[in-house]
Symmetry: C2
Subunit: 122 residues, 2 copies
Amino acid sequence: MARECSGAGEAMTRVFALLGKRWTGIVLAVLMQGEARFAELRRSVPGISERMLSDRLSELAAAGLVVREVVPGPPLGVNYRLTTAGTALGPAMGALGAWAEEHLADGVPPAATECPEANRPS
Amino acid sequence: MARECSGAGEAMTRVFALLGKRWTGIVLAVLMQGEARFAELRRSVPGISERMLSDRLSELAAAGLVVREVVPGPPLGVNYRLTTAGTALGPAMGALGAWAEEHLADGVPPAATECPEANRPS
């Protein structure tokens, strides 16, 4: 039985099984600002592919953090919003952001940069 | 200039450029418990390869969160510990863990599971 599957503790292991995947945290942070259509989400996460966004949203839905709702058309749309559990992540996300403001330099090393697309002219 | 390179905001983008990589959050969570040798870290993060751990530690050092110190031998060792900036991430990590305890089910979907090794007999 894997009650504690790493020295980090079971809860941290569960959190980072989710947040330790590329884009997941960013998608959650965007949804914290309010529900959004798939296309809006994609625009808000520069560099993410349609497939990636779709996969991340499915994982978040499976974990109970995001709900997918079909919006009757026309035009037919799919809406994504946080569940209560997803919204409850807000304060922790806020704490991460505040920490970054204070402690994480603007010039992150290239290897750690997540948003190369943002530097391209649109 | 990419002042805000995603709809998530610049700080969140920076945080998840770091934490949105597999293992990084777990390595940080382990180091929150105290400094550790490379081999100890590897034992505390089941499933991580030597190369991956080395890469993640280098990224964390480049971001100013971890310090690497050679410990004169014998046996010669390399020690890793959090910097002030790294330690300052503690409360946010604690908030993530508390959220997981309350809102993230034990049975994370297989796709999101990060620690398959822990289920193997050792």
